[in-house]
Subunit: 310 residues, 2 copies
Protein backbone atom coordinates (compact mmCIF):
# COMPACT_ATOMS: atom_id res chain seq x y z
CA UNK A 1 0.00 0.00 0.00
CA UNK A 2 1.31 3.42 -0.92
CA UNK A 3 1.14 6.15 1.70
CA UNK A 4 0.10 9.64 0.56
CA UNK A 5 1.79 12.46 2.43
CA UNK A 6 -0.87 15.08 3.03
CA UNK A 7 -0.86 18.60 4.45
CA UNK A 8 -3.76 20.44 6.04
CA UNK A 9 -4.11 24.12 5.24
CA UNK A 10 -6.18 26.00 7.81
CA UNK A 11 -5.89 24.65 11.34
CA UNK A 12 -9.23 25.57 12.88
CA UNK A 13 -11.91 23.66 14.73
CA UNK A 14 -12.93 21.48 11.77
CA UNK A 15 -9.32 20.47 11.10
CA UNK A 16 -8.65 19.57 14.73
CA UNK A 17 -11.96 17.85 15.41
CA UNK A 18 -12.39 16.00 12.13
CA UNK A 19 -9.60 16.04 9.57
CA UNK A 20 -6.68 15.21 11.82
CA UNK A 21 -8.39 12.23 13.53
CA UNK A 22 -9.70 10.94 10.18
CA UNK A 23 -6.19 11.04 8.69
CA UNK A 24 -4.69 9.46 11.82
CA UNK A 25 -7.13 6.55 11.54
CA UNK A 26 -5.93 5.59 8.05
CA UNK A 27 -2.75 3.77 7.00
CA UNK A 28 -2.76 5.25 3.51
CA UNK A 29 -2.42 8.91 4.56
CA UNK A 30 0.31 10.51 6.63
CA UNK A 31 -0.25 14.02 7.98
CA UNK A 32 3.15 15.45 7.00
CA UNK A 33 2.64 19.16 7.63
CA UNK A 34 0.19 21.97 8.22
CA UNK A 35 -0.10 25.46 6.79
CA UNK A 36 -1.24 28.05 9.28
CA UNK A 37 -0.29 31.63 9.91
CA UNK A 38 -1.36 31.33 13.53
CA UNK A 39 0.53 28.23 14.62
CA UNK A 40 -0.17 24.62 13.78
CA UNK A 41 -0.54 21.41 15.75
CA UNK A 42 1.86 20.02 18.37
CA UNK A 43 4.36 17.66 16.82
CA UNK A 44 3.50 18.47 13.18
CA UNK A 45 5.72 20.56 10.93
CA UNK A 46 4.00 23.88 10.20
CA UNK A 47 4.55 26.39 7.41
CA UNK A 48 3.32 29.96 7.67
CA UNK A 49 2.31 30.11 4.02
CA UNK A 50 1.31 27.76 1.26
CA UNK A 51 4.23 29.02 -0.84
CA UNK A 52 6.64 27.91 1.90
CA UNK A 53 5.08 24.47 2.03
CA UNK A 54 5.10 24.03 -1.75
CA UNK A 55 8.79 25.03 -1.85
CA UNK A 56 9.92 22.98 1.12
CA UNK A 57 7.96 19.77 0.65
CA UNK A 58 7.69 18.51 -2.93
CA UNK A 59 7.07 15.07 -1.39
CA UNK A 60 3.68 16.19 -0.03
CA UNK A 61 1.40 15.29 -2.91
CA UNK A 62 -1.98 16.22 -1.43
CA UNK A 63 -3.34 19.21 0.46
CA UNK A 64 -6.62 19.36 2.37
CA UNK A 65 -7.94 22.93 2.49
CA UNK A 66 -10.14 23.59 5.48
CA UNK A 67 -10.11 27.37 5.77
CA UNK A 68 -13.21 29.49 4.98
CA UNK A 69 -14.30 29.58 1.32
CA UNK A 70 -13.32 33.15 0.41
CA UNK A 71 -9.51 32.68 0.54
CA UNK A 72 -9.58 29.11 -0.69
CA UNK A 73 -9.68 29.60 -4.45
CA UNK A 74 -6.31 31.25 -4.69
CA UNK A 75 -4.67 28.60 -2.52
CA UNK A 76 -6.26 25.78 -4.50
CA UNK A 77 -5.17 27.38 -7.76
CA UNK A 78 -1.56 27.58 -6.56
CA UNK A 79 -1.53 24.05 -5.21
CA UNK A 80 -2.98 22.67 -8.46
CA UNK A 81 -0.45 24.67 -10.46
CA UNK A 82 2.27 23.07 -8.32
CA UNK A 83 0.95 19.63 -9.28
CA UNK A 84 -0.60 18.76 -5.92
CA UNK A 85 -3.87 16.94 -5.42
CA UNK A 86 -6.39 19.09 -3.57
CA UNK A 87 -9.22 18.31 -1.18
CA UNK A 88 -11.64 21.15 -0.51
CA UNK A 89 -13.84 21.44 2.55
CA UNK A 90 -17.38 22.36 1.63
CA UNK A 91 -18.37 24.44 -0.21
CA UNK A 92 -15.90 23.88 -3.06
CA UNK A 93 -15.79 27.60 -3.83
CA UNK A 94 -17.03 30.98 -2.68
CA UNK A 95 -18.83 31.27 -6.03
CA UNK A 96 -20.04 28.94 -8.75
CA UNK A 97 -17.46 30.39 -11.15
CA UNK A 98 -14.63 29.49 -8.81
CA UNK A 99 -15.73 25.88 -8.76
CA UNK A 100 -15.95 25.69 -12.50
CA UNK A 101 -12.48 27.20 -12.92
CA UNK A 102 -10.89 24.89 -10.36
CA UNK A 103 -12.40 21.86 -12.12
CA UNK A 104 -10.90 23.04 -15.41
CA UNK A 105 -7.51 23.73 -13.81
CA UNK A 106 -7.31 20.34 -12.12
CA UNK A 107 -8.22 18.59 -15.34
CA UNK A 108 -5.54 20.52 -17.25
CA UNK A 109 -2.94 19.80 -14.57
CA UNK A 110 -3.82 16.12 -14.29
CA UNK A 111 -4.34 16.22 -10.53
CA UNK A 112 -7.21 15.04 -8.37
CA UNK A 113 -9.64 17.67 -7.11
CA UNK A 114 -12.07 16.50 -4.45
CA UNK A 115 -14.86 18.87 -3.53
CA UNK A 116 -16.01 17.20 -0.33
CA UNK A 117 -19.50 17.20 1.17
CA UNK A 118 -18.94 15.60 4.54
CA UNK A 119 -22.64 15.16 5.32
CA UNK A 120 -23.02 12.81 2.37
CA UNK A 121 -20.95 10.24 4.26
CA UNK A 122 -23.16 10.29 7.36
CA UNK A 123 -24.17 6.75 8.31
CA UNK A 124 -27.67 6.63 6.85
CA UNK A 125 -27.22 8.60 3.61
CA UNK A 126 -26.09 5.78 1.33
CA UNK A 127 -28.92 3.52 2.48
CA UNK A 128 -31.53 6.23 1.92
CA UNK A 129 -30.11 7.00 -1.49
CA UNK A 130 -30.37 3.37 -2.43
CA UNK A 131 -33.91 3.05 -1.12
CA UNK A 132 -35.08 6.19 -2.95
CA UNK A 133 -33.36 5.32 -6.23
CA UNK A 134 -36.34 3.37 -7.57
CA UNK A 135 -39.12 5.32 -5.84
CA UNK A 136 -41.43 8.04 -7.10
CA UNK A 137 -40.90 11.16 -4.99
CA UNK A 138 -44.10 12.99 -4.05
CA UNK A 139 -42.77 15.71 -1.74
CA UNK A 140 -40.49 16.53 1.10
CA UNK A 141 -39.33 18.89 3.80
CA UNK A 142 -35.99 19.91 5.26
CA UNK A 143 -35.81 21.15 8.84
CA UNK A 144 -32.33 22.46 9.62
CA UNK A 145 -32.31 24.42 12.85
CA UNK A 146 -29.56 25.08 15.30
CA UNK A 147 -28.29 27.69 17.71
CA UNK A 148 -25.59 29.67 15.92
CA UNK A 149 -24.15 30.74 19.29
CA UNK A 150 -23.57 27.11 20.17
CA UNK A 151 -22.33 25.84 16.81
CA UNK A 152 -20.45 28.88 15.47
CA UNK A 153 -19.31 30.73 18.58
CA UNK A 154 -17.55 33.96 17.68
CA UNK A 155 -17.12 33.11 13.98
CA UNK A 156 -17.11 36.42 12.14
CA UNK A 157 -16.57 35.35 8.51
CA UNK A 158 -19.94 33.58 8.36
CA UNK A 159 -21.65 36.98 8.66
CA UNK A 160 -19.57 38.78 6.07
CA UNK A 161 -20.52 39.06 2.38
CA UNK A 162 -19.89 35.62 0.91
CA UNK A 163 -19.97 34.00 4.35
CA UNK A 164 -23.41 32.60 3.43
CA UNK A 165 -24.81 32.78 6.96
CA UNK A 166 -27.26 29.97 7.71
CA UNK A 167 -26.27 28.28 4.46
CA UNK A 168 -22.86 27.52 5.95
CA UNK A 169 -24.69 24.65 7.65
CA UNK A 170 -27.78 24.58 5.45
CA UNK A 171 -25.64 23.62 2.47
CA UNK A 172 -24.99 20.35 4.28
CA UNK A 173 -28.70 19.60 4.02
CA UNK A 174 -28.61 20.44 0.31
CA UNK A 175 -25.57 18.23 -0.19
CA UNK A 176 -27.55 15.32 1.27
CA UNK A 177 -30.72 16.17 -0.65
CA UNK A 178 -28.92 16.26 -4.01
CA UNK A 179 -27.21 12.98 -3.13
CA UNK A 180 -30.29 10.98 -2.12
CA UNK A 181 -32.89 12.17 -4.64
CA UNK A 182 -33.18 10.41 -8.01
CA UNK A 183 -34.52 13.64 -9.56
CA UNK A 184 -33.17 17.16 -10.03
CA UNK A 185 -34.54 20.15 -8.15
CA UNK A 186 -34.48 23.89 -8.69
CA UNK A 187 -35.13 26.72 -6.26
CA UNK A 188 -38.43 28.44 -7.01
CA UNK A 189 -38.85 30.81 -4.10
CA UNK A 190 -36.49 31.96 -1.40
CA UNK A 191 -37.07 34.16 1.62
CA UNK A 192 -33.88 35.12 3.45
CA UNK A 193 -33.87 36.79 6.87
CA UNK A 194 -30.92 39.13 7.37
CA UNK A 195 -30.10 40.51 10.82
CA UNK A 196 -30.17 44.29 10.45
CA UNK A 197 -26.47 44.49 11.35
CA UNK A 198 -25.20 41.60 9.19
CA UNK A 199 -24.46 40.83 5.54
CA UNK A 200 -25.55 37.20 5.61
CA UNK A 201 -28.87 35.53 6.41
CA UNK A 202 -29.68 33.98 9.78
CA UNK A 203 -32.64 32.04 8.34
CA UNK A 204 -33.87 30.80 4.98
CA UNK A 205 -37.24 29.55 3.75
CA UNK A 206 -36.93 27.81 0.40
CA UNK A 207 -39.25 26.06 -1.99
CA UNK A 208 -37.71 23.66 -4.48
CA UNK A 209 -39.54 22.33 -7.51
CA UNK A 210 -38.91 18.90 -8.93
CA UNK A 211 -40.51 17.20 -11.93
CA UNK A 212 -44.27 16.60 -12.12
CA UNK A 213 -45.20 19.30 -9.63
CA UNK A 214 -43.17 17.82 -6.78
CA UNK A 215 -42.34 20.39 -4.11
CA UNK A 216 -39.68 20.16 -1.43
CA UNK A 217 -39.51 22.89 1.18
CA UNK A 218 -36.63 23.87 3.43
CA UNK A 219 -36.73 25.69 6.74
CA UNK A 220 -33.24 26.67 7.86
CA UNK A 221 -32.81 28.73 10.99
CA UNK A 222 -29.86 29.64 13.21
CA UNK A 223 -32.06 31.16 15.93
CA UNK A 224 -33.07 27.84 17.45
CA UNK A 225 -32.32 27.68 21.15
CA UNK A 226 -33.31 24.04 21.64
CA UNK A 227 -31.31 20.93 20.69
CA UNK A 228 -30.32 21.19 17.05
CA UNK A 229 -32.59 19.51 14.50
CA UNK A 230 -31.06 18.37 11.22
CA UNK A 231 -33.85 16.43 9.57
CA UNK A 232 -35.12 15.63 6.09
CA UNK A 233 -38.46 14.06 5.27
CA UNK A 234 -38.93 12.61 1.80
CA UNK A 235 -42.37 11.33 0.81
CA UNK A 236 -42.75 8.68 -1.86
CA UNK A 237 -45.55 6.55 -3.27
CA UNK A 238 -44.13 3.65 -1.21
CA UNK A 239 -43.70 5.38 2.13
CA UNK A 240 -42.04 8.24 3.97
CA UNK A 241 -38.34 8.37 4.74
CA UNK A 242 -36.96 10.47 7.55
CA UNK A 243 -33.25 11.22 7.78
CA UNK A 244 -32.39 12.34 11.29
CA UNK A 245 -29.39 13.79 13.14
CA UNK A 246 -27.85 15.20 9.96
CA UNK A 247 -28.05 11.87 8.18
CA UNK A 248 -26.78 9.60 10.94
CA UNK A 249 -30.09 7.74 11.38
CA UNK A 250 -33.16 7.01 9.27
CA UNK A 251 -36.68 5.69 9.55
CA UNK A 252 -39.14 4.34 7.01
CA UNK A 253 -42.77 5.05 7.92
CA UNK A 254 -41.57 5.62 11.46
CA UNK A 255 -39.65 2.36 11.76
CA UNK A 256 -35.93 2.60 12.46
CA UNK A 257 -33.73 1.24 9.66
CA UNK A 258 -30.14 0.06 9.51
CA UNK A 259 -27.51 2.78 8.95
CA UNK A 260 -24.11 1.34 8.21
CA UNK A 261 -22.16 4.15 6.57
CA UNK A 262 -18.57 5.00 7.33
CA UNK A 263 -19.26 8.20 9.28
CA UNK A 264 -18.67 11.65 7.86
CA UNK A 265 -14.94 12.36 7.83
CA UNK A 266 -13.82 8.74 7.65
CA UNK A 267 -16.01 8.61 4.54
CA UNK A 268 -14.49 11.80 3.15
CA UNK A 269 -10.95 10.39 3.40
CA UNK A 270 -11.98 6.97 2.09
CA UNK A 271 -13.43 8.69 -0.95
CA UNK A 272 -10.31 10.85 -1.38
CA UNK A 273 -8.11 7.74 -1.27
CA UNK A 274 -10.32 6.11 -3.89
CA UNK A 275 -10.12 9.15 -6.18
CA UNK A 276 -6.33 9.31 -5.82
CA UNK A 277 -5.94 5.63 -6.65
CA UNK A 278 -8.10 6.06 -9.75
CA UNK A 279 -6.60 9.39 -10.81
CA UNK A 280 -10.07 10.93 -10.84
CA UNK A 281 -11.71 14.10 -9.56
CA UNK A 282 -15.10 14.54 -7.91
CA UNK A 283 -16.65 17.98 -7.58
CA UNK A 284 -20.43 18.27 -7.50
CA UNK A 285 -21.38 21.93 -7.59
CA UNK A 286 -25.15 21.45 -7.28
CA UNK A 287 -25.45 22.29 -3.56
CA UNK A 288 -23.54 25.55 -4.06
CA UNK A 289 -25.58 26.42 -7.14
CA UNK A 290 -28.77 25.94 -5.18
CA UNK A 291 -27.45 28.38 -2.58
CA UNK A 292 -26.44 30.91 -5.25
CA UNK A 293 -29.87 30.48 -6.84
CA UNK A 294 -31.51 31.03 -3.45
CA UNK A 295 -29.68 34.35 -3.16
CA UNK A 296 -30.50 35.24 -6.77
CA UNK A 297 -34.25 34.73 -6.25
CA UNK A 298 -34.37 35.94 -2.68
CA UNK A 299 -36.88 38.14 -1.04
CA UNK A 300 -34.92 39.80 1.77
CA UNK A 301 -36.41 40.34 5.19
CA UNK A 302 -34.67 42.47 7.78
CA UNK A 303 -34.82 40.95 11.27
CA UNK A 304 -33.43 41.73 14.70
CA UNK A 305 -29.73 42.53 14.84
CA UNK A 306 -27.51 39.64 15.86
CA UNK A 307 -24.83 40.05 18.52
CA UNK A 308 -22.50 37.19 19.40
CA UNK A 309 -22.48 38.00 23.08
CA UNK A 310 -26.21 38.58 23.49
CA UNK B 1 -33.28 25.70 -48.64
CA UNK B 2 -35.54 24.31 -45.95
CA UNK B 3 -37.84 26.71 -44.15
CA UNK B 4 -38.27 26.30 -40.40
CA UNK B 5 -41.72 27.16 -39.12
CA UNK B 6 -41.23 29.01 -35.87
CA UNK B 7 -43.54 30.31 -33.15
CA UNK B 8 -42.90 33.14 -30.75
CA UNK B 9 -44.10 32.69 -27.18
CA UNK B 10 -44.51 35.97 -25.32
CA UNK B 11 -45.55 38.89 -27.50
CA UNK B 12 -44.10 41.88 -25.70
CA UNK B 13 -41.89 44.77 -26.70
CA UNK B 14 -38.80 42.66 -27.43
CA UNK B 15 -40.79 40.28 -29.65
CA UNK B 16 -42.38 43.11 -31.65
CA UNK B 17 -39.29 45.29 -31.92
CA UNK B 18 -36.68 42.60 -32.53
CA UNK B 19 -37.75 39.01 -33.02
CA UNK B 20 -40.54 39.52 -35.54
CA UNK B 21 -38.49 41.81 -37.86
CA UNK B 22 -35.45 39.49 -37.58
CA UNK B 23 -37.55 36.49 -38.58
CA UNK B 24 -39.25 38.45 -41.39
CA UNK B 25 -35.83 39.34 -42.84
CA UNK B 26 -34.83 35.70 -43.30
CA UNK B 27 -35.92 33.22 -45.94
CA UNK B 28 -35.17 30.19 -43.78
CA UNK B 29 -37.66 31.00 -40.99
CA UNK B 30 -41.40 31.51 -41.25
CA UNK B 31 -43.27 33.01 -38.31
CA UNK B 32 -46.14 30.54 -38.25
CA UNK B 33 -47.84 31.38 -34.95
CA UNK B 34 -47.58 33.13 -31.62
CA UNK B 35 -48.46 32.08 -28.09
CA UNK B 36 -49.90 34.86 -25.98
CA UNK B 37 -52.66 35.01 -23.41
CA UNK B 38 -53.21 38.69 -24.14
CA UNK B 39 -53.58 38.65 -27.92
CA UNK B 40 -50.92 38.20 -30.57
CA UNK B 41 -49.91 40.05 -33.71
CA UNK B 42 -52.17 41.13 -36.57
CA UNK B 43 -52.26 38.53 -39.30
CA UNK B 44 -50.48 35.80 -37.33
CA UNK B 45 -52.25 32.78 -35.85
CA UNK B 46 -52.27 33.04 -32.06
CA UNK B 47 -52.75 30.38 -29.39
CA UNK B 48 -53.65 31.26 -25.84
CA UNK B 49 -51.45 28.59 -24.34
CA UNK B 50 -48.37 26.62 -25.28
CA UNK B 51 -50.33 23.37 -24.87
CA UNK B 52 -52.78 24.57 -27.54
CA UNK B 53 -49.95 25.38 -29.92
CA UNK B 54 -48.18 22.07 -29.37
CA UNK B 55 -51.44 20.21 -30.01
CA UNK B 56 -52.55 22.21 -33.03
CA UNK B 57 -49.27 22.69 -34.87
CA UNK B 58 -46.97 19.69 -34.96
CA UNK B 59 -45.43 21.27 -38.08
CA UNK B 60 -43.97 24.13 -36.04
CA UNK B 61 -40.57 22.73 -35.14
CA UNK B 62 -39.07 25.69 -33.29
CA UNK B 63 -40.28 28.06 -30.57
CA UNK B 64 -38.64 31.33 -29.54
CA UNK B 65 -39.44 32.14 -25.91
CA UNK B 66 -39.33 35.84 -25.16
CA UNK B 67 -41.33 36.15 -21.97
CA UNK B 68 -39.65 37.01 -18.61
CA UNK B 69 -37.34 34.35 -17.15
CA UNK B 70 -39.44 33.14 -14.21
CA UNK B 71 -42.18 31.37 -16.25
CA UNK B 72 -39.86 30.29 -19.04
CA UNK B 73 -38.45 27.05 -17.61
CA UNK B 74 -41.72 25.22 -17.52
CA UNK B 75 -42.60 26.27 -21.07
CA UNK B 76 -39.17 25.27 -22.36
CA UNK B 77 -39.42 21.93 -20.60
CA UNK B 78 -42.79 21.21 -22.24
CA UNK B 79 -41.65 22.30 -25.68
CA UNK B 80 -38.52 20.17 -25.45
CA UNK B 81 -40.58 17.22 -24.26
CA UNK B 82 -42.78 17.73 -27.35
CA UNK B 83 -39.70 17.48 -29.55
CA UNK B 84 -39.50 21.16 -30.51
CA UNK B 85 -36.30 23.17 -30.85
CA UNK B 86 -36.20 26.04 -28.38
CA UNK B 87 -34.66 29.49 -28.48
CA UNK B 88 -34.48 31.31 -25.15
CA UNK B 89 -34.22 35.05 -24.76
CA UNK B 90 -31.56 36.00 -22.23
CA UNK B 91 -31.07 34.92 -19.55
CA UNK B 92 -31.48 31.20 -20.36
CA UNK B 93 -33.06 30.55 -16.95
CA UNK B 94 -34.24 32.21 -13.78
CA UNK B 95 -31.61 30.17 -11.93
CA UNK B 96 -28.39 28.36 -12.77
CA UNK B 97 -30.08 25.04 -11.97
CA UNK B 98 -32.79 25.66 -14.53
CA UNK B 99 -30.18 26.20 -17.24
CA UNK B 100 -28.37 23.03 -16.37
CA UNK B 101 -31.59 21.01 -16.39
CA UNK B 102 -32.75 22.41 -19.72
CA UNK B 103 -29.37 21.57 -21.28
CA UNK B 104 -29.71 17.99 -20.05
CA UNK B 105 -33.32 17.72 -21.27
CA UNK B 106 -32.53 19.06 -24.75
CA UNK B 107 -29.62 16.66 -25.09
CA UNK B 108 -31.80 13.72 -24.03
CA UNK B 109 -34.59 14.77 -26.44
CA UNK B 110 -32.22 15.38 -29.35
CA UNK B 111 -33.46 18.91 -29.99
CA UNK B 112 -31.58 22.19 -30.36
CA UNK B 113 -31.54 24.52 -27.36
CA UNK B 114 -30.22 28.00 -28.03
CA UNK B 115 -29.63 30.22 -25.03
CA UNK B 116 -29.28 33.52 -26.80
CA UNK B 117 -27.24 36.55 -25.73
CA UNK B 118 -28.29 39.19 -28.22
CA UNK B 119 -25.57 41.68 -27.24
CA UNK B 120 -22.89 39.24 -28.38
CA UNK B 121 -24.01 39.83 -31.97
CA UNK B 122 -23.64 43.62 -31.80
CA UNK B 123 -21.55 44.86 -34.68
CA UNK B 124 -18.20 45.32 -32.95
CA UNK B 125 -18.15 42.31 -30.61
CA UNK B 126 -16.69 39.71 -32.96
CA UNK B 127 -13.89 42.06 -34.03
CA UNK B 128 -13.00 42.89 -30.45
CA UNK B 129 -13.04 39.24 -29.49
CA UNK B 130 -10.64 38.46 -32.32
CA UNK B 131 -8.34 41.34 -31.44
CA UNK B 132 -8.23 40.37 -27.74
CA UNK B 133 -7.74 36.66 -28.40
CA UNK B 134 -3.94 36.90 -28.52
CA UNK B 135 -3.48 39.81 -26.09
CA UNK B 136 -2.53 39.89 -22.43
CA UNK B 137 -5.33 41.52 -20.47
CA UNK B 138 -4.16 43.93 -17.76
CA UNK B 139 -7.47 45.34 -16.53
CA UNK B 140 -10.82 46.74 -17.50
CA UNK B 141 -13.99 48.55 -16.59
CA UNK B 142 -17.65 48.23 -17.47
CA UNK B 143 -19.90 51.27 -17.38
CA UNK B 144 -23.53 50.28 -17.89
CA UNK B 145 -25.85 53.13 -17.00
CA UNK B 146 -29.31 53.93 -18.18
CA UNK B 147 -32.57 55.45 -17.06
CA UNK B 148 -34.85 52.62 -16.00
CA UNK B 149 -37.90 54.85 -16.52
CA UNK B 150 -36.93 55.30 -20.17
CA UNK B 151 -35.85 51.72 -20.95
CA UNK B 152 -38.21 49.68 -18.75
CA UNK B 153 -41.30 51.88 -18.37
CA UNK B 154 -43.83 50.28 -16.07
CA UNK B 155 -42.20 46.84 -16.07
CA UNK B 156 -43.05 45.27 -12.73
CA UNK B 157 -41.43 41.85 -12.97
CA UNK B 158 -37.92 43.32 -13.06
CA UNK B 159 -38.40 44.48 -9.46
CA UNK B 160 -39.77 41.23 -8.10
CA UNK B 161 -37.65 38.48 -6.54
CA UNK B 162 -35.84 36.83 -9.44
CA UNK B 163 -36.41 39.85 -11.69
CA UNK B 164 -32.71 40.69 -11.22
CA UNK B 165 -33.22 44.46 -11.36
CA UNK B 166 -30.29 46.26 -12.97
CA UNK B 167 -28.85 42.91 -14.05
CA UNK B 168 -31.71 42.54 -16.52
CA UNK B 169 -29.63 44.86 -18.68
CA UNK B 170 -26.29 44.46 -16.90
CA UNK B 171 -26.23 40.80 -17.88
CA UNK B 172 -25.88 42.01 -21.47
CA UNK B 173 -22.56 43.58 -20.49
CA UNK B 174 -21.49 40.31 -18.86
CA UNK B 175 -22.53 38.35 -21.95
CA UNK B 176 -20.20 40.54 -24.02
CA UNK B 177 -17.40 40.42 -21.45
CA UNK B 178 -17.41 36.63 -21.29
CA UNK B 179 -17.48 36.51 -25.09
CA UNK B 180 -14.56 38.84 -25.79
CA UNK B 181 -12.10 37.93 -23.03
CA UNK B 182 -9.62 35.12 -23.59
CA UNK B 183 -9.52 34.47 -19.83
CA UNK B 184 -12.07 33.45 -17.20
CA UNK B 185 -13.26 35.81 -14.50
CA UNK B 186 -14.90 35.38 -11.13
CA UNK B 187 -16.82 37.86 -9.00
CA UNK B 188 -14.82 38.85 -5.94
CA UNK B 189 -16.87 41.64 -4.42
CA UNK B 190 -20.38 42.86 -5.08
CA UNK B 191 -22.27 45.81 -3.69
CA UNK B 192 -25.94 45.86 -4.64
CA UNK B 193 -28.20 48.86 -4.05
CA UNK B 194 -31.81 47.92 -3.37
CA UNK B 195 -34.55 50.55 -3.37
CA UNK B 196 -36.20 50.33 0.05
CA UNK B 197 -39.51 49.30 -1.55
CA UNK B 198 -38.16 46.75 -4.06
CA UNK B 199 -36.82 43.19 -4.12
CA UNK B 200 -34.24 43.72 -6.85
CA UNK B 201 -31.22 46.01 -7.13
CA UNK B 202 -31.25 49.32 -8.98
CA UNK B 203 -27.44 49.47 -9.08
CA UNK B 204 -24.48 47.12 -8.80
CA UNK B 205 -20.79 47.67 -8.18
CA UNK B 206 -18.76 44.57 -8.98
CA UNK B 207 -15.13 43.59 -8.92
CA UNK B 208 -14.09 40.63 -11.04
CA UNK B 209 -10.76 38.86 -10.66
CA UNK B 210 -8.99 37.24 -13.56
CA UNK B 211 -5.68 35.39 -13.63
CA UNK B 212 -2.43 37.05 -12.53
CA UNK B 213 -4.05 39.72 -10.41
CA UNK B 214 -6.10 41.19 -13.25
CA UNK B 215 -9.11 43.15 -12.04
CA UNK B 216 -12.15 44.18 -14.03
CA UNK B 217 -14.70 46.42 -12.38
CA UNK B 218 -18.33 47.00 -13.30
CA UNK B 219 -20.53 49.96 -12.50
CA UNK B 220 -24.16 49.25 -13.39
CA UNK B 221 -26.81 51.81 -12.56
CA UNK B 222 -30.42 52.33 -13.56
CA UNK B 223 -30.63 55.80 -11.98
CA UNK B 224 -28.88 57.56 -14.86
CA UNK B 225 -30.93 60.42 -16.24
CA UNK B 226 -28.58 61.27 -19.13
CA UNK B 227 -28.20 59.41 -22.44
CA UNK B 228 -27.55 55.75 -21.71
CA UNK B 229 -23.93 54.61 -21.58
CA UNK B 230 -23.18 50.98 -22.39
CA UNK B 231 -19.39 50.87 -22.49
CA UNK B 232 -16.59 48.45 -21.78
CA UNK B 233 -12.91 49.34 -21.55
CA UNK B 234 -10.39 46.52 -21.74
CA UNK B 235 -6.72 47.29 -21.16
CA UNK B 236 -4.02 45.11 -22.65
CA UNK B 237 -0.25 45.21 -22.99
CA UNK B 238 -0.78 46.25 -26.61
CA UNK B 239 -3.35 48.98 -26.15
CA UNK B 240 -6.78 49.84 -24.81
CA UNK B 241 -10.00 48.70 -26.43
CA UNK B 242 -13.26 50.53 -25.89
CA UNK B 243 -16.55 48.92 -26.84
CA UNK B 244 -19.25 51.60 -27.11
CA UNK B 245 -23.02 51.76 -27.55
CA UNK B 246 -23.56 48.27 -26.19
CA UNK B 247 -21.02 46.75 -28.55
CA UNK B 248 -22.05 48.51 -31.77
CA UNK B 249 -18.78 50.47 -32.11
CA UNK B 250 -15.20 50.10 -30.93
CA UNK B 251 -11.99 52.05 -30.67
CA UNK B 252 -8.36 51.00 -30.18
CA UNK B 253 -6.32 53.58 -28.28
CA UNK B 254 -8.99 56.10 -29.15
CA UNK B 255 -8.99 55.36 -32.89
CA UNK B 256 -12.25 54.16 -34.41
CA UNK B 257 -12.12 50.62 -35.83
CA UNK B 258 -14.22 48.72 -38.32
CA UNK B 259 -17.31 46.99 -36.91
CA UNK B 260 -18.91 44.67 -39.39
CA UNK B 261 -21.08 42.33 -37.37
CA UNK B 262 -24.58 41.25 -38.31
CA UNK B 263 -26.42 43.34 -35.74
CA UNK B 264 -27.96 41.88 -32.59
CA UNK B 265 -31.15 40.03 -33.54
CA UNK B 266 -30.15 39.27 -37.13
CA UNK B 267 -27.11 37.64 -35.54
CA UNK B 268 -29.25 35.73 -33.04
CA UNK B 269 -31.36 34.20 -35.81
CA UNK B 270 -28.37 33.50 -38.05
CA UNK B 271 -26.84 31.58 -35.16
CA UNK B 272 -30.09 29.71 -34.48
CA UNK B 273 -30.29 28.69 -38.14
CA UNK B 274 -26.70 27.46 -37.97
CA UNK B 275 -27.40 25.42 -34.82
CA UNK B 276 -30.52 23.87 -36.36
CA UNK B 277 -28.68 22.90 -39.53
CA UNK B 278 -25.93 21.26 -37.47
CA UNK B 279 -28.26 19.67 -34.94
CA UNK B 280 -26.36 21.36 -32.12
CA UNK B 281 -27.18 23.33 -28.98
CA UNK B 282 -25.49 26.44 -27.60
CA UNK B 283 -26.13 27.53 -24.03
CA UNK B 284 -23.42 29.45 -22.22
CA UNK B 285 -24.43 29.90 -18.60
CA UNK B 286 -21.46 32.02 -17.52
CA UNK B 287 -23.21 35.42 -17.59
CA UNK B 288 -26.05 34.11 -15.42
CA UNK B 289 -23.62 32.43 -13.05
CA UNK B 290 -21.76 35.69 -12.63
CA UNK B 291 -25.06 37.35 -11.70
CA UNK B 292 -25.94 34.58 -9.25
CA UNK B 293 -22.44 34.85 -7.78
CA UNK B 294 -22.87 38.63 -7.47
CA UNK B 295 -26.02 38.05 -5.41
CA UNK B 296 -24.31 35.32 -3.39
CA UNK B 297 -21.41 37.58 -2.38
CA UNK B 298 -23.41 40.77 -2.16
CA UNK B 299 -23.23 43.47 0.39
CA UNK B 300 -26.71 44.99 0.31
CA UNK B 301 -27.27 48.70 0.54
CA UNK B 302 -30.74 50.16 1.02
CA UNK B 303 -31.34 53.24 -1.13
CA UNK B 304 -34.23 55.59 -1.89
CA UNK B 305 -37.51 53.91 -2.78
CA UNK B 306 -38.21 53.67 -6.49
CA UNK B 307 -41.58 54.68 -7.93
CA UNK B 308 -42.34 54.26 -11.62
CA UNK B 309 -44.31 57.47 -11.83
CA UNK B 310 -41.92 59.67 -9.87
Amino acid sequence: MSVTKIAIMGVGKIARDQHIPAIAARDDFELAATVSGSGGVDGIENHDTLADLLDARPDISAIAMTMPPMPRFDAARRAIAAGRHVMLEKPPGATTSEVRQLIDMARAAGVTLHGTWHSRHADAVASVRQWLATRTITGGHILWKENVREWHPGQQWIWQPGGMGVFDTGINALSILTEILPVDLRVRTSVLSFPANRDAPIAADLVFAGPDGVTITADMDWRYADTARWEQTIKTEDGTVKLLEGGARWTLDGVKQKAEGPGEYPGVYARFAELLSRGESDVDDRPLRHVADAFLLAKHISVDPFHDDA
